[in-house]
């Protein structure tokens, strides 16, 4: 434990953990998940696969000064330097396996060698996650429950969908995040801070969680319980964090490339919603906008309609979403909501919501800087950022689900929130995988996962609803959850129905076999085109309802937590 506190490189640590002290059931899970992941080798890969291959090539064949300047491929390097170094490390064995992998001009290379190699690196780097989760079990108050939670995180469908099908390195990243959380649990706050700084330098999306970390470390590490500044602690934390950043950005500071690096890291030219609306508050707003637009065009009401907004659907890959009726939202606005320091004029209600919850959460954290309080406010921080952030990608839901999982067995209220958020969150990831074969895999896997999490945990935490309002809420939530199978059915069948209608409309012209793989058949009436995104829109709106509700629940629980002491309070 002492060593963990100081040593950032995760790999050797993970190894030593796996060589001893591993129980049979843990080996079982490792073998089970690894063989499943191996079977997913030939599955669908998103462009992220090529993105990472290209980064291997960039870091291998270019000098460091060119890394953030290279534009050979459209998939430029836009992760912080530690990730670039990580890719550099991976590119060395890659070169020996197949030199074509690291050839910069070998765009869209997808030979078996590169697929197997990159997929293997994901599996291996995910061992960090596994090792950290094991550590969570070892020192926990209730190891049996923590074991279920750890297993559920290690086998999380989010990781399976995003990392092992879609292709990313989230397992590795969340391994570091959980490691940092683990250090916080074990009272090693300096290590926690350092690890979080390291994580930020791997992937800057974790900035969403930074406010909670900042408050927590400041209050519990840099101030004594009585409120006195512990100058020594403060300096050591500040210096370590700065050292991490210098280690990461140092070469680029020396080369004077910081503005270039930052322009890559923070591309504010992107739209409010991603390709498909991440199911957050903006999805609800956008949906309301669409409905209003429908209403306005139907009734001919006298409202100024933004012409470009009418044409804009949510589908522009990285283009802006332009609202037709509701006033436009600029990047700066949402950014401020996320950071939660000032309110903005338009959409006041939302701003206040995002701002207040985060602020209240942080204020509460300041006054009760316990581990559990930290965990909850960390989740809320990620949650608020996800719900109100700018250009949020649906993958960011993991920022919520992972810390929330650690709270799942605390008591029934947390557990129910966890289930709601997990079901809605995982479902919201489904559109990432649209190929039919993999779609079946993702659905079946997620169902299995939810059974394995829900069935054993619910027995531990179940509480009988003790008032009428609870009964009503409970029923509504169950109804909401029951809607997901129906939604999945609709999402599956709707394209088939549309395709049949399209072929009957334009019968005779479509014969070519290759045409069927193409997602968008050419001849389309405007109406079918509008309907094309109906399943996505429904998914997004339906999931966002659950996620927003989960957010409200969690906030309420957090603020009313005084009376209840769960297992985590004993830490």
């Amino acid at each position: 434990m002492e060593k963990t506190a100081t040593a950032p490189p995760p790999k050797p640590k993970g190894k030593s953990w796996f060589s001893w002290g591993l129980e049979s059931s843990e080996y079982d899970l490792l073998i089970l998940s690894t063989s499943l992941k191996l079977l997913l080798f030939p599955s669908y890969r998103s462009t992220d696969f090529e993105v990472h291959r290209n980064w291997l090539a960039i870091t291998h064949s270019l000098p460091i000064s060119q890394w953030y300047h290279d534009t050979t491929s459209e998939w430029t390097l836009d992760y912080p330097p530690f990730f670039a170094y990580f890719e550099k490390l991976l590119s060395i064995p890659a070169y020996f396996i197949d030199p074509k992998i690291v050839d910069l001009n070998n765009l869209n290379y997808d030979a078996w060698s590169v697929v197997a190699y990159q997929r293997t690196t994901v599996i291996l780097s995910e061992l960090v996650l596994g090792a950290v989760l094991l550590r969570f079990i070892r020192g926990s108050v209730d190891p049996a429950t923590q074991r279920i939670i750890s297993a559920s995180l290690f086998l999380h469908p989010g990781f399976l969908i995003i990392d092992h099908i879609h292709f990313q390195y989230n397992g590795f990243m969340f391994g570091i995040l959980l490691w940092s959380i683990l250090m916080a649990r074990n009272g090693k706050k300096l290590a926690s801070g350092i690890l979080f700084a390291v994580l930020l330098n791997f992937k800057h999306i974790y900035m969403y969680l930074a406010p909670a970390y900042f408050i927590y470390l400041l209050r519990s590490f840099c101030f004594s319980p009585s409120g006195k500044l512990e100058i020594k602690n403060f300096l050591s934390l500040a210096n370590s964090v700065i050292a991490v950043f210098i280690l990461s950005f140092g070469p680029f500071i020396v080369m004077g490339q910081i503005p270039q690096v930052f322009s890559r890291l923070f591309p504010f030219t992107r739209g409010l919603n991603h390709a498909y609306w991440a199911p957050n508050a903006w999805a609800l707003v956008t949906a309301a906008d669409r409905v209003l637009l429908r209403y306005v065009t139907r009734t001919g009401a006298d409202v100024a309609i933004n012409a470009s907004g009418v044409a804009s659907t949510s589908r522009g890959l990285v283009g802006d979403t332009v609202f037709a009726v509701i006033p436009n939202i600029k990047p700066m606005h949402t950014f401020t909501i996320t950071v939660a320091f000032q309110s903005v004029l338009e959409l006041l209600s939302f701003f206040i919501l995002g701002l207040t919850t985060m602020q209240i959460a942080l204020v509460k954290l300041w006054f009760t800087p316990t581990y559990k309080s930290f965990l909850t406010s960390l989740t809320l921080c990620g949650y608020a950022s996800y719900l109100f952030g700018w250009h949020v990608h649906e993958k960011a839901i993991l920022l919520v689900l992972v810390p929330l999982s650690l709270l799942a067995a605390e008591r029934h209220a947390y557990f129910r929130t966890f289930i709601l958020a997990s079901v809605a969150g995982v479902f919201s990831l489904f559109p990432l995988i649209f190929t039919p074969g993999e779609s079946m895999v993702k659905v079946v896997y997620s169902v299995l996962w939810i059974i394995f999490v829900y069935v054993p945990l619910t027995r531990r935490v179940y509480e009988y609803p003790n008032s009428l309002s609870f009964v009503i809420i409970d029923t509504l939530e169950k109804v909401y959850l029951a809607g997901f199978p129906l939604l999945q059915l609709f999402v599956t069948l709707f394209p088939v129905y549309m395709a049949r209608r399209a072929t009957s409309d334009v019968s005779g012209t479509c014969v070519s076999s290759a045409e069927f793989t193409c997602p968008e058949p050419e001849p389309q009436t405007p109406q079918t085109k509008a309907m094309e995104f109906l399943p996505l829109m429904l998914t997004s709106v339906y999931c966002s309802v659950g996620l927003v509700w989960g957010f409200c629940r969690l906030t309420y629980i957090y603020l009313n937590e005084q009376t209840y002491l769960g297992p985590l309070d004993r830490i």
Partner: protein, 681 residues
């Protein structure tokens, strides 16, 4: 009825059932019985040999650790209610005392609970190495055992879908592609052509050469495909179609028919053949069978519908176990009608039914024989109806027949781990003998191969036949022999018959996996079963490599062996099976490493496949011999039926003396009774 519970004993000197009550003991004692050669007991093993059986002996010699637990468990039972336990409870740990008291009461109420908790205690100290067992136990402990079967079914479906993501036989290898294209092509031609032309249409391009049921199922799939997207099955134009959507459709048809036939068959198998076992071990058996790597990788990776054929055979077995012989015969005809490979089982099935007729005596047996003959021929006629006179000229029937039995091909195809291919390395059969002679020779050897067990079954049936007044008991005594008959017959076909494919190993694998599915971890059956399964997958490696299924090969094998908790080192030490397993695995792994590191020499491009054959064939040959040995041993046990009671067949004698209860299959009674029967003995 107990003989049903455990497909008969691997070591007939011991009771064939292993129920929870004695599972620890029986495993140990089995271990001590299993090795055929004598040796000095080691420090570790002596207790089992000396103090057997520990519960029954008046003053068992207590080994240091294990029996202490059992002993104290017995004492708990004896000292129920009395405050002074023979086992001193630590005064400083009141909770422990409370727990143990509570446990004690609990134990006595439910005898099965007692044994299981003893085992649980045992295993907490000595952790169990089977992932499947651990998981099932965990689910039971959590009180969520109701979820075990649904989870198993879902998980196996997931695995099938995941395997299906990979490549398949003949992917992007025009002009002929592979088995995938063959199956798809049959959908195409059955959808668009009349019955009469199915077996004659363009035979050069994957002409239909499976029996009619395959054709009907292809027809059904073709119709569905035609409704979804006509381009998938457009006549002639769709040849070699490899779109993502059509692949998913094809894959899902396999998953669908597998779920329709094979999975229920497996489920009912565990519920009928293992009716006297606990739910837990039934579920374990289901798990073992569902995740069998060979059938997963061939059906869902390589692409075939073997599970349908195997499933029908299995349904037939289940029906036989229920004494529904007519239904069983129909199922077996369906199996034959789906794929002619089911013929490998035919001697065993025929032998069994004949033995049953013999056993029932002249009147009942004769009646049954006639009924079976009628039902069988009727089902065949129904199956071939479209090719028969009212619908087609009589000559049409010859088309499917000649297509199904292609004697015009060579002795063996590719490299297959059977007798002919292996011996061909040193002895070139083709130069030495004409084809017709080889056909005769292979037929003769095959018959010789399956005859012993069939003869044994008939002999047993004859000896135990019922005389006029005796009421037929609910189960024929030959039933425990049946899996061994199936194994030896299918294995002898695989080893010696004409025109065998490497994939056909799935046929003999089914009975041996059934046998293995409820064997304990250190029994001989387990050792043989897993060895045969692993080597079967290994023997298909050249094929899988060609299909691009290397990763799936690795993943499925690792997962299944882990699920079973298989470790050859943990088999009974220095027994034949352990030595064999270890040497075969060493050879197999070295071959893989060699293949990875060195390209084959130019002179022998087939070096690695040939070496593969040379490693696998002896294993299959030994499995075949072993199945005969087991058949003989089982017949010894059955021989004593009704005559002198013998200690070699505890349960069987008990079975014969006690009138059989009709509820024994699948009834809770049978399961509850099992522990007591053994305790009483």
């Amino acid at each position: 009825m107990e003989e049903l519970s455990a497909l008969p004993p691997d070591t007939p000197r011991k009771s064939p059932i292993r129920v929870r009550t004695i599972s620890v003991n029986s495993m140990r004692s089995m271990r001590s019985v299993a090795p055929p050669f004598t040796r000095l007991p080691t420090e570790h093993e002596r207790p089992e040999i000396l103090g057997r059986p520990p519960i029954l002996a008046p003053t068992p010699r207590q080994p240091p650790n294990r029996h202490l637990l059992e002993h104290s468990a017995q004492q708990w039972v004896q000292s129920l209610g009395s405050a002074s336990s023979s086992r001193p409870v630590s005064p400083i740990s009141p909770t422990q005392r409370f727990n143990s008291l509570a446990e004690r009461v609990h134990h006595v109420k439910i005898p099965t609970q007692l044994s299981s908790s003893v085992i649980a205690e045992e295993r907490e100290r000595e952790p169990e190495h089977a992932m499947g067992r651990r998981w099932v136990r965990w689910m039971h402990k959590r009180g969520v055992k109701g979820w075990v079967v649904p989870c198993l079914l879902l998980a196996s479906t997931l695995l099938k879908l995941c395997v299906g993501l990979g490549s398949y036989s003949g992917l992007s290898t025009p002009p002929m592609f592979g088995d995938y294209e063959a199956q798809r092509h049959w959908m195409e031609l059955t959808t668009h052509l009349p019955f009469q032309r199915w077996y004659t249409y363009d035979l050069q391009y994957w002409g239909l050469d499976y029996p009619p049921l395959t054709a009907y199922i292809s027809w059904f799939c073709g119709l569905v495909a035609h409704r979804i997207n006509p381009t998938w099955v457009a006549l002639d134009h769709s040849r070699g179609i490899e779109t993502e959507a059509s692949k998913v459709f094809m894959r899902s048809t396999v998953v669908f028919f597998d779920a329709l036939v094979y999975v229920p068959a497996l489920f009912f198998f565990t519920r009928t053949w293992q009716a006297t076992r606990t739910k837990r071990s039934q579920n374990l058996a289901l798990l073992t069978l569902l995740f069998q790597p060979a059938s997963l990788i061939i059906d869902f990776g390589h692409f075939q519908y073997n599970s349908v054929m195997l499933g029908f055979t299995l349904l037939a077995l289940n029906a036989f176990a229920y004494e529904l012989d007519m239904l069983g015969a129909v199922f077996f005809v369906l199996s034959l009608g789906f794929k002619q490979m089911a013929l490998y089982y035919a001697p065993a099935v025929g032998g069994y039914l004949l033995a049953k007729c013999l056993y029932l005596g002249s009147a009942n047996g004769g009646k049954l024989f006639l009924q079976l003959a009628l039902v069988t021929s009727l089902s065949f006629i129904v199956l071939f109806l479209p090719f028969l006179p009212p619908f087609a000229p009589l000559s049409t029937i010859l088309d499917p027949i000649t297509r199904i039995f292609p004697f015009a091909r060579g002795l063996f195809e590719d490299k297959v781990a059977n007798f002919w291919c292996a011996s061909n390395v040193v002895f070139k059969w083709k130069n030495w003998a004409s084809r017709s002679l080889l056909i005769k020779l292979s037929t003769a050897l095959t018959v010789l191969g399956f005859l012993p067990n069939v003869v044994i079954a008939l002999r047993v049936a004859w000896q135990t036949r019922l005389t006029g007044s005796q009421k037929p008991s609910i189960h024929t005594p030959i039933l425990p022999l049946f899996p061994y008959m199936l194994l030896s017959s299918s294995m002898s076909f695989f080893l010696f018959s004409f025109q065998v494919h490497e994939k056909t190993i799935l046929v003999p694998l089914l009975p041996i996996t059934l046998l293995l599915s409820n064997a304990s971890l250190d029994s001989t059956v387990f050792g043989w079963g897993v060895l045969a399964n692993n080597i079967a997958v290994f023997s298909m490696w050249p094929l899988l490599k060609r299909d691009g299924l290397g990763v799936q090969y690795l993943a499925l094998l690792a997962l299944w062996n882990r699920l079973l908790g298989y470790n050859p080192l943990r088999l009974s030490p220095r027994s034949f099976i352990q030595v064999l397993s270890l040497s075969v695995y060493t050879a197999a792994i070295s071959l893989h490493i060699l293949e990875l590191l060195i390209p084959p020499p130019a002179r022998y491009p087939d070096l690695f496949p040939v070496l593969n054959v040379l490693i696998s064939t002896p294993v299959f040959g030994l499995v075949w011999l072993w199945s005969i040995k087991c058949g003989v041993e089982a017949s010894w046990a059955l021989d004593t039926l009704g005559s002198r009671p013998s200690r070699t067949s505890v349960v069987v004698t008990e079975d014969a003396s006690v009138p059989r209860r009709p509820s024994s299959i699948g009834a809770a009674q049978g399961r509850k009774r099992a522990p007591f029967t053994l305790d009483e003995k």
